[in-house]
């Protein structure tokens, strides 16, 4: 799988190395601000809400609900065209922030995908170096 993976991979940044390292260990970690108490996505070293530098990493529960979705029938780039249909999703995490992902483990069809459905994280080891956190219906 690692050799044949043809879709875009994240280019890790210094402030997100930890996020992607923990994803490889099948853990989802978020940035939390000790000054204003908010947990946010995506990782940044200065809080986007109150601009405090007093921030730390916290492990997420991995639970959330589906905020919005799309079912992609026309792949946006050639690499995605052989993988349609697939479900793109925005998930409201239990800790507060919203993150983009794929919804997997469900028929890619509007009969089976519902805003508000309970979800849990699952990890897709797409290459030896990159694991993508994805979500599936909570079991």
């Amino acid at each position: 799988m690692a050799d044949s993976y043809d879709r875009p991979l994240p280019v890790r940044q210094p402030e997100s190395d930890f996020y992607w390292e923990r994803a490889k260990a099948h853990e989802l970690w978020l940035r939390h601000c000790n000054a204003c108490g908010q947990t946010y996505f995506y990782p940044r070293d200065i809080c986007p809400h109150c601009f405090s530098r007093d921030v730390e990493w916290r492990q997420a529960s991995g639970r959330g609900t589906l905020h919005a979705f799309g079912i992609v029938h026309r792949g946006p780039t050639p690499a995605f065209r052989e993988h349609v249909p697939y479900v793109v999703a925005l998930v409201d995490l239990e800790e507060g922030p919203r993150m983009p992902t794929n919804l997997v483990g469900v028929e890619p069809d509007a009969e089976h995908v519902h805003v508000g459905m309970a979800l849990e994280v699952t990890f897709d080891d797409v290459t030896d170096e990159i694991t993508l956190p994805k979500f599936r219906p909570a079991g």
């Binding site: 875009p8 997100s16 995506y42 026309r74 995605f80 993988h83 793109v88 999703a89 983009p100």
Partner: protein, 380 residues
């Protein structure tokens, strides 16, 4: 400084020589043709231009190609709304004495460019969204539309999308420059293939080649020119995210700030507007923007556009050029909204001319519903 409202006017507008499927022209050539045509429309020459405004490319690229060396330069690039925002920036720059004749140019070979532009993979959108196949406007906007449907009802939202697609096509049939001029039925809409659910193909804008340009100058200079000035009465801009996953509320665009602000600057209200031009990248963009601008309340958009109200003869003239859905959409469409509003205000819109247009509101949207620019334009 004197009040900005009515301190400057749009005195020239034009498209490139051809728009639609134009494989024989580069993006910069489209900029140049549009600039040439807009200056001719204004009765001005290239030597008069001292302020240059462009999005996508830097103004030093368009300036070099056109042979313009401006003393005021603005390359604000916040997606398709940029050119509407440039109109407000031009008004401010002229009032401040930084320039007197502002030329805003656009050109994109959206369909026929010989090379594609890659986006910077260091950006958060590419790090966190692209790996999931969340790439490009149709997918981002379709997710926002799913949220709206959940919140306000799937069937009535679907009907609103169809109303908008069908009504916009009716306007396009009256515009000889429109790419899609065959009538569209409700069945055609519903039967069109899925792009990204909940979007059908006919929820999505065209991909074309096109350029356009707009000339703005001071009130004094405008009165000396051959055509009636189209006054910039109000202007406002706002953005509140870049990535769709960071949008604060998928059912409210930055127009919730720019609509009321531009109307307040102009000293008018929604009921005074005779023609509304809204960036229709997607049917959903129209629906959510009508609400965000304040024409109706949250969730009331489907009632607002019901029964072909936005079609020719329908009581609420909207996107009379045929819009991004049916006229042209080269990638960043916002400037074409301004071109059409000016033509309607001057009475130059031919078969699609709306009677007695004295005030027009134009709202451009860019990125992933990220940015908006609103201007209120008027004659007399």
């Amino acid at each position: 400084m004197a009040p900005l409202s009515k301190s400057a006017a749009i005195v020239g507008v034009a498209e490139s020589d051809e728009i639609g499927n134009v494989p024989g022209k580069s993006a910069l050539q489209l900029h140049a043709e549009a600039a040439y045509n807009a200056l001719e429309d204004a009765g001005l020459s290239k030597a008069d231009v001292d302020g240059l405004f462009t999005a996508g490319y830097s103004t030093y690229d368009t300036g070099e190609y056109l042979g313009i060396t401006p003393r005021y330069t603005d390359s604000t690039t916040v997606g398709g709304s940029s050119f509407v925002i440039h109109v407000g920036h031009a008004v401010a720059a002229i009032a401040a004495g930084m320039c007197e004749v502002a030329l805003i140019t656009h050109g994109q070979a959206g369909r026929s460019a010989r090379a594609r532009v890659e986006r910077d993979p260091n950006l958060p959108t590419l790090q966190y969204e692209s790996p999931y196949g969340i790439i490009g406007p149709p997918i981002a906007y379709s997710m926002a539309a799913s949220r709206y449907m959940h919140r306000y009802g799937e069937d009535r939202t679907r009907q609103a999308f169809a109303e908008i697609a069908v009504a916009t096509r009716k306007w396009a049939t009256l515009n000889p420059k429109a790419m899609m001029r065959e009538p569209l039925s409700f069945d055609d809409y519903h039967d069109s293939r899925w792009i990204s659910y909940p979007f059908h193909l006919l929820d999505c804008c065209l991909v074309t080649d096109a350029g356009a340009a707009v000339v703005v100058t001071s009130a004094e200079r405008a009165r000396s020119l051959p055509k009636e000035p189209v006054w910039v009465l109000g202007a406002a801009e706002h953005h509140d995210h870049a990535s769709i996953s960071q949008m604060p509320d998928l059912t409210l665009t930055p127009a919730h700030v720019t609509g009321p602000a531009a109307l307040a600057m102009a000293g008018v209200t929604h009921g005074d507007i005779d023609l509304t031009m809204i960036y229709d990248s997607f049917t959903y963009t129209v629906l959510v923007t009508l609400e965000s601008l304040g024409y109706c309340g949250p969730g009331e958009g489907p009632d607002f556009v019901a029964d072909q109200r936005t079609a020719p003869g329908g009581g609420f003239p909207l996107n009379t050029s045929g819009g991004g859905l049916s006229y042209t959409h080269p990638g960043m469409y916002g400037i074409f909204l301004v071109v059409e509003a000016v033509r309607q205000l001057r009475g130059e819109a031919g078969d699609r001319q709306v009677q007695n247009v004295g005030l027009s509101l134009v709202n451009g949207t860019g990125g992933a519903l990220s940015s908006t620019g609103t201007v209120v334009l008027g004659v007399g």
